[in-house]
């Protein structure tokens, strides 16, 4: 009986009886705590990288603060490239374009080369995965060709296409195709015999087997290949564009180096890194959606 007035006006209770109050209202306190909890969990993920980044920037600033430093400090990078940062959509003459256009041009080349590589890679991988003869005939060739560095293809493709743009696209294609072929082939070789038997009992034709069994069953492997491929493509495009010229983030970097604009290079590197990261995340999230049901039952 003494307890009931205690609950009526909790704020006036002495310290020892405060426990009664907290125990009597657990439900509302949980509900109220949920939002700050989520916030703190978020902070736990965002704070560490921010702190590290701030630390590195300060370190960089300190090391490169002398006016004779060969690499500009972060503050100098920002002040020197401010025009580029605030006008990404600037349109000028020839290669004098805003950074957005440079990156877009590079992305277009990557998109085209990569899509061709994905289509051809899955088709060739399916062939190699399905047929022992194709496997024996083609695999050694693939294993040798895939070790050729992407840029080594450039002179050959320039000779063949006689133009920079298709050559760059070809370099992307030839860079991205190997991991797609090899992973697709492995994925198709690993399709369980059970699924093949189901297809045989149902008398699925080649096309139905390809779309209804092969591609979904091999999807996790295919996406592994696609994800490696997109990373390699983005690595290769910057190097290829340095050599072929024209609008593109690779040539932008090369051009900046030739005019000794170190700050521009640093800004471009940051953009290249961010775009590369976003490309990887994009493929990874597509893979997640597409293959979420392919885990074995």
């Amino acid at each position: 009986m003494i307890a009931s007035p205690v609950r009526m006006n909790p704020q006036k209770q002495p310290h020892t009886q405060a426990k009664v109050v907290t125990l009597s209202t657990p439900r509302s306190s949980v509900a109220r705590r949920r939002f700050p909890q989520r916030l703190s969990a978020l902070a736990g993920h965002i704070l560490p990288p921010l702190v590290t980044l701030a630390f590195l920037l300060v370190l960089w600033e300190v090391i490169c603060s002398s006016p004779t430093a060969s690499v500009p400090s972060p503050s100098r990078v920002v002040s020197e490239t401010w025009e580029l940062i605030v006008h990404p959509f600037y349109v000028g003459q020839g290669v004098d374009q805003g950074l957005f256009w440079h990156i877009l041009a590079s992305l277009k080349r990557v998109a085209l080369g990569y899509c061709l590589a994905a289509i051809a890679g899955i088709a060739l991988g399916a062939l190699v995965g399905q047929s022992d003869w194709a496997m024996r005939g083609l695999d050694p060739i693939f294993q040798v060709l895939r070790t050729v560095p992407p840029l080594a293809w450039l002179p050959l493709s320039l000779a063949a296409f006689k133009d920079g743009n298709p050559s760059a696209i070809f370099v992307i294609f030839i860079t991205a195709i190997w991991p797609v072929i090899i992973n697709t082939a492995v994925g198709i070789r690993n399709i369980p015999q059970d699924y093949r038997n189901v297809a045989r009992v149902l008398r699925l034709n080649q096309f139905e087997y390809f779309t209804k069994i092969m591609i979904p069953a091999a999807a996790p492997y295919i996406f592994t290949g696609l994800r490696i491929g997109i990373g390699l493509s983005w690595l290769a495009i910057v190097a290829a564009e340095m050599l072929i010229g024209g609008v593109g983030i690779g040539f932008f970097i090369w051009d900046a180096w030739n005019s000794s604009r170190m700050s521009d290079i640093i800004l471009a590197l940051i953009y290249v890194g961010i775009v590369g990261y976003l490309l990887d995340r994009a493929i990874a999230s597509i893979a997640k959606v597409v293959t979420r049901n392919t885990l074995s039952a």
Partner: protein, 265 residues
């Protein structure tokens, strides 16, 4: 006498790897009537799954033929639908889609879109899986997966339903439940069924005839036992039924006295 519905004629199966060859099946002959429920029982390694695969057309016999309604079986097909031991549902399709895939393929020319949907639902109802039709195989229990496997096979309207140790991987209670369901479906649809099992009670409970295989290598049919129990059969009543006990002990004697698996001793 009329020709048998399904007949296996002098099936030999020899697996050869490198120079060595092993004879797995030796002169296996069996006639099955329409609507009959046949169990094939034997110790593991006696080639009973191989025999089923030969009937299914998934494996080609070295010698001998399988005739279904007088026609030679030489390739797999939906007229001999298989319920695989490990269900073999496609994990990227829902329960409904797994059955629908078979229905769409088998009845693409003969049923309209609406009819195919209804037929899919009808078969899911038969195994009482309508409630989980939009779940993925990974989201339902082992017994449910096997029920979907059965629904998929039944949906093909097979001439012969082939069951490859369909309940082997299930716990005893789920197994009993599924056996009852299979009996009910068999009573309703009068399918011709060929079932592989190594469970004596299951064989006696479900079958019209039990085919007992001798041990491999070079396994053959040792004995065929008629199970003259009236249907519908109820497992509780059968437990004390004289005919049931006689059949059961006949199978047990065959398996454990005359054809004991040497390694298992």
């Amino acid at each position: 006498m009329s020709k048998p519905y399904l007949s296996l004629e002098q099936i030999d199966m020899v697996f050869s790897r490198g120079g060595a060859s092993t004879q797995v099946l030796n002169q296996v002959s069996l006639d099955v009537d329409k609507g009959e429920f046949i169990s094939i029982i034997g110790h593991s390694g006696c080639g009973k799954s191989t025999l089923l695969n030969i009937v299914a057309g998934l494996t080609e016999a070295t010698r001998g033929v399988v005739l279904l309604e007088g026609v030679v079986v030489d390739a797999p097909g939906p007229d001999r639908a298989v319920v695989f031991q490990n269900h073999s549902l496609l994990p990227w399709l829902t329960v409904y889609e797994n059955v629908k895939l078979a229905v769409d393929k088998v009845f693409s020319g003969t049923k309209s879109r609406v009819e195919r949907h209804e037929w899919t639902m009808r078969n899911l109802e038969l195994v009482q899986m309508v409630h989980a039709k939009d779940k993925r195989p990974s989201e339902v229990s082992g017994g449910m997966k096997q029920r979907v496997g059965i629904a998929r096979a039944l949906a093909m309207e097979p001439k012969v339903l082939l069951l490859d140790e369909p309940f082997g991987a299930l716990d005893a209670l789920t197994r009993a439940h599924l056996q009852d369901q299979v009996m009910q479906i068999h009573a309703e649809l009068a399918n011709t069924v060929l079932m592989i099992t190594h469970d004596v009670d299951e064989a006696v409970l479900l079958s019209d005839r039990i085919v007992m295989m001798t041990n491999g290598p070079s396994a053959k049919i040792g004995e065929v036992l008629d199970v003259p129990l009236v249907r519908p059969r109820r497992r509780i009543e059968l437990a004390s039924d004289a005919t049931y006990i006689r059949c059961r002990s006949a199978v047990l004697k065959f398996l454990y006295e005359r054809h004991r698996l040497v390694e298992a001793a």
